[in-house]
Chain length 352, copies 2
């Protein structure tokens, strides 16, 4: 009997969430939104599926991941980051061809698990009927930073995918929403066999390199370390490599309080704001502060007479910016390349 | 031959310069403006005088002070803070009656030592002729947070003091400057005997309590610890206790780049600003930041897309505020009463 296997992709570095997110402890492993990390939340969200979960991540993050996953979880180590298509291909090649894979990023926030699971059932149904299924998130704003999926006629448990639109301008985004387009949430379901077939057709270079790396993979306890050939795969997303090209695309609607939790502004929106519109976490004291995201994972932070700021302090680094500039944190952080404050987790307050 | 004795008052807590300034390591002991602390700068500025310096400070700060003063400096410990009049009275009672005392705060910045020393010579001359001499700082703005001295007719090496005006409103400040009034810099020169006589006349309760505390003082190496009776003295400034009441007041003009270095805005003004108008000290990285004071004595501080902020980070605390709100830091800090981040010096980066 073929299984339904959660495949969690944990490749992201979460640079825009520095200084909490670090290369060796990226955002999906941090307690950014609650008591659990987003990886733990993601695993809990699909814990009812019958297959044992597989986590695909950069080999240098496996140690940190191991402490957050249930026993029996398969850990697949990528020698280098190559975006999501090679990771999904590896997961498919490591599964029974008839298995359905549910491929989820490790670093998204979903408020409503019940609704998510209902959409997941539809997606699994679509996958069993031979489709490559994408989750289409119901938009709540004309976001220009996301990709959109334009649905076509109904089929199986969803609607056929008419086309993908990558990062539209505002005018186009408004038109897309008007016409019923959905955000591409980067979550997929498909049979292993179908993905491999479609990848052979549309992205053979990915499949070839990943096949070799699976053949030369080495086991190490619960870990499987993919061979160096993985690095020869083109760095492509599942969307670009397969979904935009296949005739088998199906989209299932998801309206469950989804957030990519990708920036401090996203976390501000996810947080509980007080009567001054501030989201405050940790040892923070304020006076006449409004509409700000204020977080300390270490030092005492005292803030006076400002508004619309993001202030994030750890034991070794502090970020101060405006809420509407948070996308540029990535660029600022790139300038810090090579510094330990980018890669090594900050000292916790209890260490000091 | 009577000596000229520098008396440095180091009683201030420097609350507005938190988180660098701490109760056990207040601003005058910190390297805020250069390679030396302001106490060290102050001592260097009067090192040419023949008398050995005396530093009057809260007893709990003497340990930190001891490491910053030349050998032979007398350290006088106050059991409690009682403003400047009791401290000056103690210094006078501990000196030869004919000695001239030059009483200086430990936490002011003076850019031009040569001009300061010339004014000092005039002040000492005035003191030797029996006056209580105040230094009147030539104003460069209609500051409403300072006291003003209105000079009268010339006498001795300065001008007689006509009256004092405490913290005028803006209109009054403009009028005062127009009429040639000077800022009260809180720096004085007088013979010990003259101060004691005038204090007996105008502030007998101060003199009585301080006399008892000098009588019961205990030596401890180079330290002299004033007795508990010191605490019975009314908490008064030299200005209020004596200068505003005496007929012997003389003012000597000082135009030497004086700053009370009392707030982060003062330190911004004293600092070297770059082409974006930022004053940056320590491990700070900026992108599109303007007109800000950015200082780290510990963590990496990354700042993006803001202006006119003050950001000061230490190993255990971070302050973020607007440059025009820095006076309110004192009030914010009062809310932190009892926390170690107020009293104990922050861990230095080399400790971590």
């Amino acid at each position: 009997m073929p299984a339904t296997i959660p495949v969690i992709l944990s490749g992201g570095a979460g640079t825009r969430l520095w200084p909490i997110s670090r290369r060796l402890a990226p955002k999906q492993l941090q307690r950014l939104t609650g008591e659990r990390s987003m990886l733990e939340d993601t695993l809990a969200r699909i814990s009812h599926l019958d297959g044992e979960a597989m986590v695909v991540a950069n080999v240098e993050q496996l140690g940190a991941i191991e402490g957050q996953v249930p026993p029996g979880t398969r850990l697949v180590g990528e020698p280098v980051a190559r975006n999501t298509a090679p990771a999904a291909a590896a997961a498919a090649l490591l599964s029974d061809p008839e298995d359905v894979l549910v491929v989820l990023p490790s670093d998204h926030h979903i408020a409503d698990t019940k609704t998510f699971r209902a959409a997941l059932e539809s997606a699994i149904g679509g996958a069993r009927s031979g489709h490559l299924v994408a989750f289409g998130v119901v938009p709540d704003r004309p976001e220009t930073g996301y990709g959109y999926i334009v649905p076509g006629p109904p089929a199986s448990s969803g609607r056929l995918i008419e086309r993908f639109v990558e990062k539209p301008d505002l005018q186009a985004a408004l038109g897309l929403i008007e016409s019923g387009a959905l955000w591409n949430g980067g979550m997929f379901a498909f049979q292993a066999r179908v993905l491999v077939d479609e990848m052979a057709r549309h992205a053979p270079a990915v499949l070839e390199a990943v096949s070799k790396s699976v053949a030369s993979a080495k086991s190490q306890g619960s870990r499987l370390l993919l061979g160096e050939e993985f690095g020869q795969a083109p760095s492509l997303s599942v969307d670009v490599a397969v979904m935009e090209k296949t005739d088998l695309g199906l989209v299932v609607e998801l309206d469950a309080g989804w957030s990519d939790a990708g920036s401090w502004e996203s976390l501000y929106a996810l947080g509980q704001s007080d009567s001054s519109g501030n989201v405050i976490l940790g040892d923070v004291v304020t006076e006449d502060v409004k509409s700000s995201y204020l977080r300390s994972d270490g030092p005492l932070v005292a803030v006076l007479g400002v508004d619309n700021l993001v202030i994030v302090a750890t034991g070794d680094a502090v970020l101060v910016t405006k809420r509407d500039r948070v996308q540029e944190v990535k660029r600022l952080v790139e300038r810090l390349e090579g510094r330990s404050e980018l890669s090594i987790p900050p000292p916790s307050s209890s260490d000091r």
